[in-house]
């Protein structure tokens, strides 16, 4: 056993195998050295009253680098992630230029080497995310990229999407789709419905998402490929994914914290902080997404952390870019919202936030069982702390959080990345 360096003392260990009261001892090699009672190490980190869990894993982060370093960098985004309990994030490829080649994968990965969490890179499905020709997925997969997406847009061309699925299935990688039919959604800046109608803001109908979910389920059936649905936001989408899973298709899905809680009524003040894609929808959609999370239709809660500079979010609603911060608040929002449905099942909640997304992203170090020898990617959560979100204190370079001023229950106290305490008592250590 390597020399112990740190012990997480007095916590309740919760992982895929269940929960037990235990200390967690971390070795100098950054792995878990022991889990048990009365463990000791030179450095003691208090986990009293807290949950000690596998580090959270985000399937959907926009780190904005390269191209929009004024909004976020890999480093600043990773600091948000660590503060939110994340030890791994999947960086979306809609950077400038897009991550659509081996060179770009190298570039972003190298930016991630000093980050406060593991930065996994997703690749684009098509060159430049333009939806016209396949990106060199095999070349990127050879570097370890396990998930491909044109996120920000969906692949519109049915034939191209079919080919992408066939090609990807041969590589053992997963395609992830931002489901949005661009013709149906064209010009829409919020959910099309009662509020868009009243506010005179052009809307995009739920069907803009649903027709692409339906198409990709059909293509998954045709090709046998796996498909991951990003940020599902409508009741219809959740129902289709539930049916596809029942049919035995290899489909997975994520939902964002904001689609678990916020509705289009928030757009009434015309503040673009509530503009996001897919848009905030109706109460019925929120209820359906929550139900999908609770019944296993939705496999992961993913943040879609999308920083935008203040100036961009001060444009009129229809000119402002869509997107919201999410990494620092995801756990608190999930706990706060799901607690409304009954007592939190922490194993289920952490599955949604940690090991299930890790499995979808192919992150083999982020397994669900905390055992000796597993990399010490951990987070320590105070499940009862109530805190108010202060946008000014965010570690992001941007401030576009829809949760500003809200009170959330459940806060990350410590985060350890390969045994290194990168967040202690709610503060980043570097």
């Amino acid at each position: 056993m390597p020399d112990p360096t740190v012990v997480l003392k007095g916590g309740r260990v919760v992982d895929a195998t269940g929960e037990r009261a235990a200390d967690v001892l971390i070795g100098a090699d950054g792995t878990i050295a022991a889990i048990g009672a009365d463990l000791a190490a030179p450095r003691v980190i208090d986990a009293g009253g807290c949950i000690v869990a596998p580090g959270l894993v985000d399937l959907h982060s926009h780190l904005r680098e390269p191209g929009q370093e004024d909004a976020e960098t890999v480093e600043s985004g990773s600091r948000c992630a660590a503060l939110g309990g994340y030890t791994a994030v999947v960086a979306m490829p809609n950077t400038t230029p897009a991550i659509d080649s081996a060179a770009m994968v190298h570039e972003v990965r190298s930016l991630g080497t000093t980050a406060l969490c593991h930065v996994a890179v997703s690749g684009a499905i098509t060159v430049g995310r333009a939806g016209e020709q396949l990106a060199p997925m095999a070349e990127m997969a050879a570097l370890g990229v396990r998930i491909f997406t044109d996120d920000g847009t969906g692949v519109q061309d049915n034939r191209l999407m079919r080919r992408a699925m066939e090609y990807a299935s041969g590589l053992g990688v997963r395609l992830a789709q931002h489901c949005e039919d661009s013709a149906l959604a064209a010009g829409g800046h919020m959910h099309e419905g009662e509020w868009s109608s009243r506010l005179g803001i052009p809307g995009q109908p739920a069907e803009a998402e649903e027709v692409m979910v339906q198409r990709d389920i059909s293509l998954a059936r045709l090709t046998g490929a796996s498909i991951h649905f990003q940020h599902l936001s409508t009741a219809g989408s959740v129902a289709m994914v539930r049916a596809a899973k029942a049919e035995g298709l290899d489909v997975t899905a994520e939902a964002t914290p904001h689609h678990l809680a916020l509705t289009h009524a928030l757009c009434a003040g015309f503040d673009p902080v509530f503009k996001v894609n897919p848009p905030l929808r109706t109460d019925a959609d929120v209820a359906a997404v929550v139900a999908g999370v609770l019944d296993g239709t939705i496999d992961a809660i993913a943040t879609d952390h999308a920083p935008h500079v203040q100036e961009a979010k001060e444009r009129p609603f229809d000119q402002a870019p869509p997107g919201m911060l999410g990494l620092e608040t995801a756990l608190g929002v999930a706990v706060t919202e799901l607690a409304k449905q009954g007592d939190i099942d922490w194993v289920q909640l952490l599955a949604l936030l940690s090991w299930q997304p890790a499995a979808i992203a192919g992150l083999t170090e982020h397994t669900g069982a905390l055992v000796e020898g597993r990399a010490a990617h951990l987070c320590v959560i105070d499940p009862t702390e109530v805190w108010a979100v202060d946008a000014a204190r965010s570690a992001s370079l941007s401030r576009n959080t829809p949760w500003a001023g809200r009170r959330l229950t459940g806060r990350v106290r410590h985060t350890l990345l390969a045994g290194e305490p990168v967040v202690v008592d709610g503060e980043a250590t570097r």
Partner: protein
């Protein structure tokens, strides 16, 4: 009320009625040989127009001058907006010059609301995207009230491109607040989504609606709607939803015809119909000045409550 961003800011029928009553005083002022009162002397009003406008701009300008306010024009075409200045910076810059009110027209819904959140000055919405045009609704209410005494129980049909119309949104709120029954008449592609949540009836058949209305309110049909697959042709629109001479014959003799302008004669309204005696299009423009005087006075006046006190002040 600090701002007038939406008809809803007026607080329903009583607030609208107060503006209309105050408008009566300003109609009287406008009829004088020297149609000017010192009510807003020393107040400064800025026009912040991001969209072209002739009648609304001129109407507000005339209203302000008759109230003796100073005005300044922030003309977007020749301003720092062309150098990339943000709406927020522009609004705060104008306010720093010491203005009491900013009248905003913008192509984006909600832009005046955003301006109002950044400045202490009063903000008046002079039309924002598809959202609202509250002073248009007020002048329309005033014009109908002038002819019919009241809107209570009257049947008003709004015809045309409801979906993209800020005039329609404000008028639906105002007409229904004052007790009118509103029917929207348009092809389904030009109706807003979820229109079933609005306090209106819906029809696609203008011929069936016309004999039952006290007022038919026509909206401008824009040519770009053809390119968005909302309508096959303008000709077809006119044939089915235009107020042609033949169709105008279906109206009751005392029914009124209104239009916010600018008109496309021969498209949504036949030239002969626009010029009929029961067409109120010129009255609307005339009343627009008095209504805007009332709104400016309400927001920038001494702060006295509306009603007889305000009227007395104006007459003094």
């Amino acid at each position: 009320m600090t701002h007038l961003l939406s008809v809803d800011d007026l607080g329903g029928a009583s607030g609208i009625e107060e503006v209309l009553r105050l408008t009566d005083s300003f109609v009287e002022v406008s009829a004088r040989s020297i149609p000017k009162v010192p009510a807003l002397r020393g107040k400064t009003i800025a026009w912040l127009f991001y969209e072209d406008s002739t009648r609304t701009r001129l109407s507000f300008e005339t209203a302000a001058k008759r109230l003796s306010a100073d005005t300044m024009n922030f003309s977007v075409g020749s301003s720092s907006v062309n150098k990339g200045e943000s709406l927020r910076d522009t609004a705060r810059t104008i306010e720093a010059m010491g203005v009491d009110a900013i009248v905003v027209r913008h192509g984006s819904a909600g832009a005046p609301h955003r301006v109002a959140s950044w400045v202490d000055a009063s903000v008046i919405n002079a039309g924002d995207g598809w959202h609202e045009h509250p002073t248009q609704a007020l002048l329309d209410c005033y014009t109908i009230r002038q002819q019919l005494g009241s809107l209570e129980g009257r049947h008003i049909a709004i015809v045309g491109d409801i979906k993209h119309s800020r005039v329609a949104r404000s008028n639906v709120l105002a007409f229904s607040a004052l007790g009118a029954e509103v029917t929207l008449v348009a092809p389904p592609t030009l109706l807003p989504p979820s229109v079933d949540t609005w306090p209106v009836k819906i029809s696609n058949d203008l011929d069936a609606v016309l004999p039952t209305v006290d007022v038919v309110y026509l909206l401008r049909m824009q040519r770009e709607r053809m390119t968005e697959s909302l309508l096959p042709t303008l000709r077809e629109y006119t044939a089915f939803w235009g107020l042609t001479v033949a169709r105008a014959a279906l109206l009751r003799p005392d029914a009124l015809v209104m239009h916010p302008g600018p008109m496309n004669r021969g498209v949504e309204i036949a030239a002969e119909v626009a010029d009929l005696p029961q067409s109120l299009i010129i009255d609307q423009v005339r009343n627009g000045v008095a209504v805007r005087m009332a709104v400016l006075y309400l927001l920038l006046g001494s702060g006295a409550e509306l009603g007889t006190t305000a009227e007395e002040r104006v007459r003094a």
